[in-house]
């Protein structure tokens, strides 16, 4: 679906993106993970045809991106980090207007609004919406033309956990329909939960690219942390999950029934990102 080979891009004389290569398959959720200013948004702008002055090759669908005309936008949907809506129009009017700009039939507006629990507010002006409601409506704007590739920039930013869940469910439904999703985020939980593969973008390059599971496994086994009471004080210990039988102290505490707490501590994508790049995500 997307093939990038030796991509080079620069805003100034200094290269910003250098010799980047990767591909995204149809039906895949692919995440760009990285801190602000790493090059994620630039990469998304290149992939959506907004920055045609790149070097190397970028193929989206079948042809080279540079040769795509405006019809390219018939097949993609983009949800920006910030709402992009007419404030004086209602939610329904916004979706109807943006949907009317495409030659393909627009998706059922009522169903879309119901999916993000905005049915009750469909005829309310967007200016009266909360930030979270605007985010959800903006997300629907990106879906209105039933795109083959969906570009999402921080789709759950500013949403409460319940609404973030709604959005994530819709993203997974789109994937189930065979849609390709490019997720740009610095939220490692979203990436770990949604993405089939993630690319760590740092300083305009890919520091690592794999499935979240493989990236986490690369670090090795999870650890086990436990605590016990000694002379009235709480003490803690830690050992690798696959070495618990070698930890004599742990064995003794278990056999004597003196364990106070015990839990496993798996590394997450954020830990891996920090380990690979030396930088924190959030």
């Amino acid at each position: 679906m997307i093939r990038i080979e030796n991509l080079i891009f620069s805003y100034t004389k200094k290269p910003f993106i250098e010799r980047m290569s990767f591909s995204v398959e149809r039906g895949e959720i692919f995440g760009f993970l990285g801190p602000s200013g790493a090059g994620k948004s630039t990469l998304q702008k290149i992939l959506t045809g907004q920055l045609p002055g790149y070097g190397g090759s970028v193929k989206v669908f079948s042809g080279e991106l540079r040769s795509h005309g405006r019809d390219f936008y018939e097949r993609i949907g983009i949800d920006f980090e910030f709402p992009t809506l007419y404030e004086k129009l209602t939610a329904r009017q916004n979706l109807k207007f943006f949907g009317s700009l495409y030659s393909s039939p627009m998706r059922d507006i009522d169903k879309l609004l119901a999916a993000v629990e905005l049915s009750q507010d469909a005829d309310k002006k967007v200016s009266d919406y909360s930030k979270g409601m605007k985010s959800r409506l903006s997300f629907l704007r990106a879906l209105i033309n039933d795109p083959e590739i969906l570009f999402l920039d921080e789709p759950t930013s500013g949403l409460d956990p319940a609404n973030a869940r709604l959005m994530k469910n819709i993203i997974l439904e789109e994937k189930a329909k065979g849609k390709t999703v490019i997720l740009t985020t610095h939220n490692m939980q979203d990436a770990q939960e949604l993405c089939d593969r993630v690319a760590f973008i740092v300083n305009g390059g890919i520091a690592a690219l794999d499935t979240p599971h493989n990236l986490i496994m690369r670090r090795g086994a999870s650890s086990v942390r436990y605590s016990w009471l000694e002379d009235g004080k709480e003490c803690t210990g830690e050992c690798a999950l696959d070495k618990t039988t070698d930890d004599t102290r742990l064995q003794k505490l278990v056999s004597e029934g003196k364990l106070l707490t015990i839990h496993s501590a798996e590394p997450n994508l954020g830990d891996i990102f920090m380990e690979v790049t030396g930088r924190a995500l959030q």
Binding site: R70, Y73, F80, F82, E87, F97, S100
Partner: protein, 227 residues
């Protein structure tokens, strides 16, 4: 069809932001002015009012329209939709020309303009030129103050030569100026109607081509919701 939908969208945008109410008030004020002036100068006053406002409104209002779009970031959403630069531009030009034609038509009827169809045609063509120039100025403006500053050179070039006519400064060469041709056509004493129309059309074409080029770079630059 998409052009029609975009134009309808722009008309609705202008309606929601009170452009039509504003122009209803302006029209009422202009009609009072026309009623107050002696009949001998009424046609001249009507011509000045029509040329400096409904025909040239794009020079003043395009900044507000584009900056409102920018503030709501809808330009970013439009930039990543299948609309063409030309469609975006034409929708803006047609929607403002519509207000120009309505207001200009009313003022023409009350101002004793003799050839209404020719007057309306002049309004449409000069409105296209002024709105295209306004769109170019708006493309490079981040604030309303900047727009006002950037629009001044266009206003000087488009509006100064026609005002010379009021002071009796006349020359056959002035037919090459779009503003002068428009004023002659609105007033109804053009030395040559085909040449005046040709002059307006010849100015329309480069203004719109340049505007379309500016819109292309504007839409590309704003497709990331960062501007």
């Amino acid at each position: 069809m998409r052009l029609l939908r975009l134009t309808t969208g722009d008309i609705r945008f202008q309606w929601k932001y009170g452009f039509y109410i504003l122009y209803g008030i302006f029209t009422a004020i202009y009609l009072l002015v026309l009623a107050a002036v002696p009949e001998s100068v009424r046609r001249t006053v009507a011509t000045v009012l029509i040329f400096t406002d409904p025909a040239a409104m794009g020079l003043f209002f395009m900044g507000a329209i584009i900056l409102l779009e920018k503030s709501q970031r809808v330009n970013s959403a439009l930039a990543v939709s299948p609309i063409r630069e030309g469609e975006y531009m034409l929708a803006k030009l047609l929607s403002l020309a519509l207000i120009g034609v309505i207001v200009g038509g009313i003022l023409s009827a009350f101002g004793g303009i003799r050839n209404l169809p020719l007057c309306l045609l002049a309004i449409v063509l000069s409105s296209f030129i002024c709105s295209a120039c306004g769109l170019i100025a708006a493309r490079f403006s981040r604030t309303l103050n900047q727009f006002v500053l950037f629009a001044v050179p266009f206003e000087m070039v488009l509006c100064l030569p026609p005002t010379l006519l009021l002071f009796g400064i006349d020359s056959p060469w002035l037919i090459l100026h779009p503003g002068v041709s428009a004023v002659w056509l609105i007033y109804g004493d053009a030395p040559s109607v085909p040449l005046c129309l040709l002059s307006l059309v010849l100015w329309c074409v480069p203004a719109m081509l340049l505007c379309r080029k500016c819109i292309g770079s504007y839409l590309r630059a704003t497709g990331g919701a960062s501007e």
